[in-house]
Symmetry: C2
Subunit: 241 residues, 2 copies
Amino acid sequence: MPNNKIGGHYSQAYDEELQQAVDRLVDMGGLVLQQLRDSMAAFTTADVVLAKQVKKGDRQVNSFEVDIDEHCLDILARRQPAATDLRLVLSVLKSINDVERIGDQAKRIAKTLLKDEQGSRPSAEQLAELNGMSAKVQLMLQHALLAFQQIDADKALNVLREDKAIDDDYSRIMQQSLSAMMHDSQQISVSLQISNVAKALERVGDHSRNICQHAIFLSKGRNVAHLNDDELQQIVEKKRD
Amino acid sequence: MPNNKIGGHYSQAYDEELQQAVDRLVDMGGLVLQQLRDSMAAFTTADVVLAKQVKKGDRQVNSFEVDIDEHCLDILARRQPAATDLRLVLSVLKSINDVERIGDQAKRIAKTLLKDEQGSRPSAEQLAELNGMSAKVQLMLQHALLAFQQIDADKALNVLREDKAIDDDYSRIMQQSLSAMMHDSQQISVSLQISNVAKALERVGDHSRNICQHAIFLSKGRNVAHLNDDELQQIVEKKRD
């Protein structure tokens, strides 16, 4: 999808190269989102075949990252971009790193099932809780990629704030699984599986948060990593006029 | 420490800017290494004051990252580097991301103590095992930074291989703490503390591995993320002649 904030160079080929960097990032994000969905479906239904497919699919994610990385390096070397173009290339470079790590988390969820194939299974209630968290995480990732694609700092800030609800889910699930294993040692193996999946989902939330920060950097020209919500708000509102 | 592989531009100021990027990365690495040492000392001796200091010190790591990030962006924007210079700036940008995440892991170790201040403590044997792993991890990080600073692909490949021993330590410690909690539910809380510290150290190994990959990219011009050992070996040997 072409973005009217990208382009306007004398060279149409250059415009296309920049647009392509963003498009490929979004495509890579779509692939990783599918990996995440599949890994949760596999874990939920104990589908070992699907889990193995996710594990194998991670290689595709990795080669996607290398391809985009090389595309961006090529732009930097040949076009020597400045200002917004430079920021665009750098934010894509940073974002693919986060997207690749989200892929690793999907693989981790798949491996949680594969490692414990014969083990006891979480209850329907526990699975529902994880899937509720996963739905939020998937939505956040989708929104983060959209905010990036649209170079929309306001949207990125709103999406970034979605991470709070995910962290709350994480704390609750971890607390429950800790207390389950404290009370019943039969629950240890299942509790560790659940903790592992919850931790993976929480990490996906963090990486989606990072993608939002890269979108804000792209839009506003300021590195906003490690800023608190008030500081972020100020930067996002500042240059709007 | 000046590196004879960096520089040789008409502009001495430009040479100095590039060297400064590497020097600051190494300084940031030194700070993070100290954070890691302190976090392990705090965990080992249950030193709550030191753990709080590590937690607070992470802010300094974060602002270090932002400073270097801005320094690199400034070089990219003003100097429009090409070839090796471009690779140098990009590898520093990627490496500070890994170093910052190592800082997060030091904080995580400190927080493991702070969260469980009143809880039971690991045995002397368990602490010795973790400290053995930590010593390897610290050495690997030091070596990775040195390989980067010296732009030495051979050294980087050797350091990267040190990660295997760390992963082995990790698997063994995780196995032990799992079996400890399975056999005695009184051990659950301590086992979770140990798993958490071991996981943090294992992540530091992974990030040190990434720094080695960035050093190889810098030296050889090839993105080597996700390559296996044989492929890496080929690339490192290839352009040496």
